[in-house]
């Protein structure tokens, strides 16, 4: 709209009947379930206070927290049986406990030289990573009635803040206890410093939860992700610096605690006044539940989150990644590969597998490295194949009729494109290891290993594919004939 026309438009608006003017004003107001308090709300609140039984904000929150934990524990229970206890948990506790005790009995030199700021920063990082953001236990249905009552909403969010604080406290105590040998035996902190340290982590962790909550409401997509990571890193660095300063100057300790507590209280007050937060809270709750059960459902294809941005973060232009995509099987392999690269979980597992493979090759004798190499390849092929089979099991994939030949050829191409580079690099590592050990002409092995690795991978893949499950084998064909007989009483149109 031009500058000249604006006053004219305003005048025209003023000249319009009042009901039209009011209607336009109402459109400009934000549509939020938790609107400012009105006289009706006040009445509602009074009525709500008078409701019988446990129907109060505290009672409702108690029920929701109990229901949440019951749901999480029920989910965990499905992954637990005696074999998990005997073969996974008990060995983990036994081996992990022994390694832990051994570590502190004879701490390595670097642990003795490490300044206390480093473990403190790591601890701050761990508390941030292993606890969710601000928990309010909001549910989508709250937008219908509950959020119209501001007093109830505030009280419930207040209880959620208390829960969040308690969660930070519990996790801080657990992590601080694990680090107690360091603080007591190596740096010999007095009890008051230990208490201050734990208190600072709890208050800081709580403040961080509120800051991350504000950041998540302010931004979306990649900006939100980067801001959230930046906030955590800044907090960890700031806490490390504070610990370092507090060791030299005791006056820093109460000042830091006061700053964190005041900041937490101020942000809590601001948060209680914030409006239009329901959708964000529901998303936080969904993420918290998903984080609680994700570890045991890594293999289940439906447990996935939607992409955060409207466009992919990587491979944004839909252009092919592989050569030769004019052939349908190459196009399919290309699409599968791109979809996997865009999935953080797959990239994380792939990187971990590749890194562990390199470490295994580096840490074992040469003859064993040469055996570990194909074994790693087998593991990689088996994992990639499972991903391909899962892909063909996707509802979108099931919409189309895949011929067995096309599905098999695309699966072969996909596994080759995804796995052969890693296998070739492992081969390079074996070759370099041999070159370093024996020198001279053996260095030729380093040069030849990637090419041999590529060929070996394709051979291994072909052999394994012959007995692995066929992709798309379960997909039904539309309109499959079950019975061709004309039944009695049919209606012909």
């Amino acid at each position: 709209m031009s500058e000249e026309s604006r006053p004219a438009k305003r005048d025209a608006r003023k000249a319009e009947p009042p009901d039209v003017w009011e209607a336009e004003q109402m459109e400009e107001e934000p549509e939020q379930p938790d609107d400012p308090k009105t006289a009706e709300d006040e009445e509602e609140e009074e009525e709500a206070e008078a409701l019988p039984g446990d129907f109060t904000p505290a009672g409702l929150m108690r029920e929701r927290i109990a229901a949440y934990w019951a749901k999480v524990l029920r989910s965990w229970r499905t992954a637990w049986d005696w074999t998990v206890g005997v073969y996974i948990v008990a060995p983990f506790l036994w081996i992990g406990g022994n390694l832990y005790a051994e570590f502190w009995r004879e701490p390595p030199a670097w642990a003795l030289e490490m300044p206390p700021a480093v473990p403190s920063a790591m601890l701050a990082l761990a508390v941030a990573v292993f606890t969710a953001g601000l928990r309010t236990f909001a549910e989508p249905g709250d937008g219908l009635f509950l959020r119209r009552n501001r007093a109830w909403t505030r009280r419930m969010i207040g209880i959620g803040m208390l829960y969040t604080f308690t969660a930070k406290l519990s996790v801080t105590l657990i992590f601080s206890a694990l680090l107690l040998p360091y603080h007591l035996m190596l740096v010999r902190w007095p009890a008051c410093l230990l208490l201050w340290h734990a208190a600072g982590l709890v208050f800081g962790g709580y403040l961080l939860a509120l800051v991350r909550d504000a950041v998540s409401r302010r931004w979306s997509g990649w900006r939100r992700r980067i801001a959230r990571i930046a906030v955590v890193l800044i907090w960890a660095a700031a806490w490390g610096w504070t610990v370092s300063a507090a060791e030299g100057s005791p006056a820093v300790r109460p000042a830091a605690l006061a700053l964190l507590a005041t900041g937490g209280a101020a942000l809590s007050a601001l948060r209680l006044r914030a409006q239009g937060t329901l959708l964000h809270e529901v998303e936080t709750e969904r993420n918290a539940y998903s984080a609680s059960i994700r570890w045991m459902l890594v293999d289940a294809p439906p447990v996935r989150s939607l992409p955060r941005g409207r466009r992919p973060l990587v491979l944004r232009g839909s252009r092919p990644l592989l050569p030769g995509t004019a052939a349908p099987h190459r196009r399919l392999a290309d699409l599968w590969l791109k979809s996997q690269i865009r999935r953080f979980e797959t990239v994380r597992i792939y990187s971990a597998l590749f890194g562990l493979g390199l470490a295994a090759i580096a840490q074992t004798p040469l003859w064993l490295s040469a055996l570990v190499w194909p074994a790693l390849g087998g593991l990689l092929i088996s994992w990639l194949h499972r991903l391909v089979v899962q892909w063909y099991d996707e509802p979108y994939m099931k919409m189309f009729p895949w011929s067995e030949d096309l599905a098999k050829r695309s699966a072969d191409a996909a596994r080759a494109a995804a796995g052969a580079p890693a296998f070739a690099l492992w081969g390079l590592a074996v070759g370099v290891k041999a070159g370093l050990l024996y020198g001279g002409f053996v260095w030729l092995a380093a040069l030849a290993a990637p090419a041999v690795g590529w060929w070996l991978y394709l051979d291994l893949d072909g052999w394994m594919a012959s007995f692995m499950a066929k992709p798309a084998a379960k997909n039904k064909k539309a309109g499959a004939t079950r019975d061709d007989r004309q039944p009695a009483g049919e209606t012909e149109v």
């Binding site: 409207r310 466009r311 944004r316 839909s318 196009r331 895949w402 539309a478 309109g479 004939t481 149109v493």
Partner: protein
């Protein structure tokens, strides 16, 4: 896919249901000629979706057949049929363009043909500007348009379209009707279910009205008017109401 000189579709539903021995739909048979559009209508729970799922081979308990050109659809080759579901079915980590590329790959469509058709359809349904976006992040209407574009990209002989108007804005509805007209000219047959009777009246040549899993009325609009006992100017909506009321009254009696 070429639709030249084919005889059309024959749908036979002997029994269809979700539990053994408890069919929801039984004894239905209808045909769709090349270039013809048939509306499968009925109130909620009449069995429209069950018929669709049965024809698609998605029901656990189903006796029947879907014949294209006299042969079971499974033998008619890939791309003979396209299903456009009411609830969009999408993959999280593929862009809109990649969804189309994947659909085209299922038919072995050459690159040039795919690019030309995909660009034309995306521009037509005003999705070209978001072709590199994730469709799972689209609004419901845009997702519905995505499903339509995927269906039209495949150019099948038979379209099974479930509630195509849900979530579509008026201009997208117009585009859909125009594209369906073009598909009719190509010789494609369409079976669609809908609750939007005005649109069904405009776009369908014949109707199959289901009530309680059985065919209550069928034929052209004139036939339906006759079966419902309505006048020559009656709308499909009026006929539908009359037929359902009559059926309910008979049921109560």
């Amino acid at each position: 896919m070429s639709t030249a000189e084919w005889t059309g579709v024959e749908a036979i539903v002997e029994e269809a249901g979700y539990e053994p021995g408890r069919p929801v739909v039984r004894g239905i048979r209808f045909g769709i000629r090349p270039g013809e559009r048939v509306g499968l209508l009925g109130p909620n729970g009449a069995g429209k979706s069950t018929v669709m799922k049965g024809l698609l081979g998605q029901l656990p308990h189903w006796k029947g057949n879907l014949l294209l050109d006299g042969r079971p659809v499974a033998d008619a080759g890939p791309g003979a049929l396209a299903y456009i579901p009411e609830q969009p079915v999408l993959y999280e980590r593929l862009t809109l363009w990649e969804h189309l590329a994947l659909a085209a790959a299922s038919l072995g469509m050459p690159d040039e043909e795919f690019t030309e058709k995909a660009e034309r359809l995306l521009k037509r349904f005003r999705l070209y500007g978001v072709r590199h976006h994730y469709p799972v992040r689209f609004s419901k209407g845009m997702q519905q348009k995505t499903m339509l574009v995927i269906g039209f990209l495949l150019s099948p002989r038979l379209y099974l379209v479930d509630e195509p108007f849900v979530g579509l804005d008026p201009s997208a509805t117009m585009e859909l009707l125009e594209v369906l007209d073009e598909e009719r000219a190509r010789g494609a047959a369409v079976l669609l279910t809908t609750h939007v009777l005005d649109a069904a009246e405009r776009m369908c040549d014949r109707f199959v009205l289901l009530l309680d899993g059985r065919v209550t009325a069928s034929g052209t609009l004139a036939d339906i008017r006759g079966q419902a006992g309505c006048g020559p100017d009656a709308r499909l909506f009026d006929c539908f109401l009359k037929l359902t009321e009559r059926a309910e009254a008979e049921g109560d009696g």
